[in-house]
Symmetry: C3
């Protein structure tokens, strides 16, 4: 069995910045030489998330709009009492969307749909430097 | 180490069609001879999702009702500008519910609860042919 | 390749009881001697969930508040017709938040952020005994 760990480093620009990391993940899969196995994509930190979506300008706004319905910015968050912080909604959205995504590696690739991209979504209220771990486990044949 | 890839092919009938795939996944696990490891269940495409739920007629309606609160059908989606499409809410719901579910294989089975089934949920606005990958990784002993 | 299965047993006290299981998961990873691989954390049952969050008293209330927006307690659930039950909202919340979380093991640890804890969230309407499976797969070197 083979494993491989790589870190994708991002500098996000603002809240709700959605970054397409598909090509970076696919390159890590190719370089690993793993032909069949699993790829786990994990966001270190509690105010960012990974998911898949059709990466186009419309949905880049529609997904944050839905998260605003789940955890609106302008309601009261008890989190702000603890730290005098402003990002209670960021934490709640991240916990619901999820910090981790595990995908199959089949014949050396991840069998995504044509309109299905892997994205990181910045949920914090400001620009951040982010570390996304890609952990690969599988066989070379 | 052993790995095994199988594809479950479904024809969904309509939006919010919920399909219980537990038996198919369990058969794939049995046939793989993997006794201890992981099973990754992955939906190819950006308008379907996998999760677990108690598969009974009530919840088949209650889960879509909740998704309607997160991403209502009749609000404005910027996605529709891009493609003159009608399924912005489908994409948003799929990204939040998730395209992938990884479960443990323990002693040759997935230790689900009695009222916990693995389901595919059609989120697109019409009948679709679906491919669900089941990727198994683990040991035969 | 090495694998290891452990069960974390919890007694939750009430609905929305959030339990930090980070230390227990980390101990299982250490004891497994797996240095690089994956850890899958899976809740048996359909009314509990696992996710990551900054474990502090504020967010322990803010996350359930958001789930109340997605699946309010006091709306009608068709699930109640099936079983004359009171926990339709619990099932719906659990399906959206998710029963399973897969994390990377890198150099013998899970590279969580400083303010990122692994939590079990009780979504049922009463105290429950819970089994959370931790399935580890990877290499000892």
């Amino acid at each position: 069995m083979k494993w491989c760990t790589r870190i994708i480093r991002l500098h996000t620009k603002h809240e709700n910045d959605m970054v397409d990391i598909t090509n970076q993940v696919m390159k890590i899969v190719r370089d690993s030489n793993v032909k069949n196995g699993l790829a786990c994509i994990f966001v270190k930190g509690s105010t960012g998330a990974v998911t898949t979506i059709e990466y186009e300008p419309g949905l880049k706004q529609d997904l944050p709009d839905a998260l605003e319905r789940i955890a609106p910015k302008n309601v009261y968050y008890k989190h702000h009492e603890t730290w005098h912080d402003d990002n209670g909604h960021s934490h709640v959205r991240a916990s619901i969307l999820g910090c981790s995504l595990t995908l199959p590696i089949v014949n050396g690739t991840i069998p995504l749909g044509t309109w299905q991209q892997i994205v990181f979504l910045e949920l914090d209220t400001r620009s951040r430097n982010r570390e996304i771990f890609v952990q690969i486990l599988g066989e070379e044949e």
